[in-house]
Point group: C2
DNA sequence: TAAAATGATACTATAATGGTATCATTCTGT
DNA sequence: ACAGAATGATACCATTATAGTATCATTTTA
C-alpha cells in the first residue's frame, strides 16, 4: 500500500527539476534525458499539470514548461488530489450505499483520525521544502 | 486510496462478531446470515485467520471458529499485515533497485514519518477497542 | 450415512495503475 | 516557405492488485 503513485511521484520530480531550472523553460525532452522518465508518460503528466494550473506552457520549437505557482505554494497534497483523488483512507467498504453508522463506527473514526494526521502533515510538504533536502 | 481493503475489513467484522458471541462457536454460515458477507470470500478469510493463529477452528457438523487470541491483543495492524502486507507508504517508486538516496530523500523521509504515525496509531486499535464504540 | 461444517487449492472477474501511440497544432530558425 | 521541435488532445493497451468463485477432500455429529 503506497501513499503516492507513480504519476504523483514523477510529477514531483519534474516540478522540483523545473523549480531548479527556473526561469528557463523545461521540455519533456529535458526531463526524459535528465530524470530518465518514460517519455509518453511524463508528457501526459505534464499536460495534466498544465490543465490543473500548476504549469505554464509554451508551444512550438524551444517551447516547454514553467512553474505557474511558487514552489512554496506547490503542495504535495494537491498533487495527490490531482492524480489520485481526495485522500480518504477511511471509507466504509461494507456497502456502496454509505453505512448509517459511518459517523459513529469506531473503526471509521480511527481511520479518519489517521487520515487527518496524514493530510495535516502533507500540507507542509511543498516543492520548496523538498528542494532543501 | 484506502488504508484497509475488503478482506481486512471483513476480517475485523467477523472477529468482532466472534468476540461478542464467545464462547459459542461461530460458523461461516452465521457470518453470512448476520453480516451479509459473500460466503466463499469470508470462508477464505476465516481460513487465513485460522492459519495465522488468530482463530481456533472445529471441523464437522456444528463446527465453527473461536478467537484464539484475547480481543485486547487482536490488533488491526496485525490484520493489515496478514491481508495486505507490511504498512509501508514511503517506498521509492523510481527504480526497482532501491535508490541510493532512500535514507536522505526528503520526500521518503516525510512519507516514512506519516507511515510511522499511522502504525503507532493502529497499534492501539484492537478488536476490544472497536467493540466498545 | 447424510448433512453440515472446515481445509486446501485453483480459478476468474473487475478495477486501478502504469503506461503507449497517434495525430493535430503551434512556434522558431533558416 | 518549411522542416523540425515542441505541446494539446485523445484513444488505446498492459500489468497488477483486489475481490471475489468454485471444487473437492476431510472431519464430525445426529
Ligand atoms: S460499518 Fe459502515 S462505517 Fe462502520
Ligand atoms: S528518489 Fe528514490 S528515495 Fe528519493
Amino acid at each position: 500500500m503506497n501513499l503516492i503513485t507513480r504519476n504523483t511521484d514523477y510529477a514531483i520530480r519534474a516540478l522540483i527539476y523545473m523549480a531548479g531550472a527556473a526561469p528557463e523553460l523545461v521540455s519533456a525532452t529535458d526531463l526524459v534525458r535528465d530524470l530518465g522518465l518514460p517519455r509518453p508518460f511524463i508528457r501526459k503528466i505534464l499536460q495534466e499539470l498544465q490543465k490543473a494550473g500548476f504549469l505554464y506552457s509554451i508551444k512550438g520549437k524551444n517551447g516547454g514548461f514553467q512553474l505557474a505557482v511558487a514552489p512554496e505554494k506547490l503542495r504535495l497534497v494537491d498533487l495527490i488530489l490531482l492524480f489520485q483523488g481526495p485522500v480518504s483512507m477511511g471509507d466504509c467498504l461494507l456497502r456502496k450505499k454509505i453505512c448509517a453508522c459511518t459517523q459513529t463506527c469506531p473503526l471509521r473514526l480511527e481511520l479518519k483520525k489517521i487520515e487527518a494526521m496524514a493530510v495535516a502533515h502533507l500540507q507542509n510538504v511543498t516543492v520548496a521544502f523538498l528542494m532543501k533536502g
